[in-house]
Symmetry: C2
Subunit: 261 residues, 2 copies
């Protein structure tokens, strides 16, 4: 029959599209994975009511193994609900390749992705973002974010940092900025300074989001509330991007003058 | 009252999210702009039935001027329906800035954007795309696409080309590739060769999409059917990206060997 990948967007259960809802309603089995990202206001009971079916929560291993999913999809309409857009995280591409190689019809219901939501909300041009990186917890310390930022800034590009998550532990904007400062302390290449312009973003994509930009030394003191959080460090700014940051990220106009980049 | 920006996604009227539908249903006035992109299977009658309200189609000037929209949004709930995600095209950012400066509450219903849909459908990593560019009609000839491609390839990055549109005239994959070849004929920097790997994409994001990759000399002969079309030229490929291109873009495995990049 079919294997449907259905995105839920970034904010709550209302991020599903009408096409996604239609696919889900026509499914015999509905799985949901919530390990690739957090949808802060997702209410699974409410989503079950909207779809009119029971939802089975699955973990990373279940998808990576994939055997049960592919076996069921031969005889039934099977849907996998995912945070964001189903194919921005690479996790699901392998499963889709295997399904298509086995002759299972795949349907995809795209949804808002953090990758397009963040630039839109803060008013930065999507195509001016360089590579993104994840700032990891200290027990899994990595300087990839530092190197990514260094390269993006040298090209004038913006950088989106995802923040590590693990079961019920989520990195905050504050901890993420502290990690970046720690990397600078180790590397001392003068990439990250305490007066650098950064934007902290929490629960993006719906009524309860919170976005605030400023100097690292100021933003690191702000309480952004519940997760998920992420951080953007802007590269070279177009005049309209500056205007947007002033209005959408409440950045002080003065801060945009005399930037190093 | 409020000004709502509501995305419709990339394929048909079912690309709206449940949140977008809720905002639209609570609106007093609903505008729709369809000049920033084409939604190939959008049925406005059907959309009016889904929302339960009349939709007023507006043009570029109406949004750029914006006076009537902002005036109405002071006393009513006003929605603007847009192709894709509302803030990937820069057109709407200025209107949002003006609204927020006037104290009008802005709500945003994100939706699938071509920017996240294309990488997902063809299986290329979103963050490995460099700048995108639009290949324009000959009467508005521009070599920006050539320079963009040159720069992206030098960084190993993928390139997404949008194809020009004007009222009822839409550039095809075939014409877009011919334009790129013509730029090479003029520039002669050996960036674009007839055996270069390209991917043609038509009506992406729903059941009737068509994706086919191969050498320019082969892809240029394929009929991709009705618009909208676009073109992707891959940069450096990860092993999993190669597998995805073979399955999702029907690229011959042999073609992926011995690529220059």
């Amino acid at each position: 029959m079919t294997l449907n990948f259905i995105g839920l967007g970034v904010y709550d259960e209302k991020g599903i599209t009408l096409y996604g809802l239609e696919l889900a309603k026509n499914s015999d089995i509905i799985f949901l994975e919530k390990y690739t990202s957090i949808i802060p206001y997702l209410n699974i009971d409410s989503l079950e009511k909207i779809i009119g079916k029971k939802i089975i929560i699955i973990d990373r291993k279940f998808i990576e193994d994939g055997e049960i999913i592919l076996k069921k999809a031969k005889d039934y309409n099977v849907s996998i609900l995912t945070p964001g857009d189903p194919f921005i995280a690479t996790t699901h591409i392998e499963l889709r390749i295997r399904a298509e190689k086995q002759g299972i019809k795949v349907n995809i219901a795209h949804a808002p992705s953090i990758i397009s939501v963040i630039p839109g909300e803060i008013g930065l041009q999507n195509y001016k973002f360089g590579r993104s990186a994840t700032i990891t917890f200290p027990d899994n310390y990595s300087e990839v974010p530092y190197d990514t930022l260094k390269q993006n800034l040298s090209l004038g590009l913006h950088t989106l940092f995802f923040l590590d998550l693990r079961e019920d532990k989520y990195m905050s904007v504050n901890d993420g900025l502290a990690m970046l400062m720690e990397m600078e302390n180790k590397r001392k290449e003068n990439i990250i300074t305490s007066d650098m312009l950064v934007i902290g973003i929490a629960r993006v994509g719906g009524p309860n989001q919170f976005i605030k930009g400023g100097r690292i030394s100021d933003v690191i003191k702000i309480d952004f509330g519940p997760p998920p959080h992420c951080i953007v460090i802007p590269g070279k700014l177009h005049f309209m991007e500056e205007e947007a940051l002033i209005v959408f990220a409440k950045i002080d106009r003065e801060l945009l003058k005399n930037r190093r980049i």
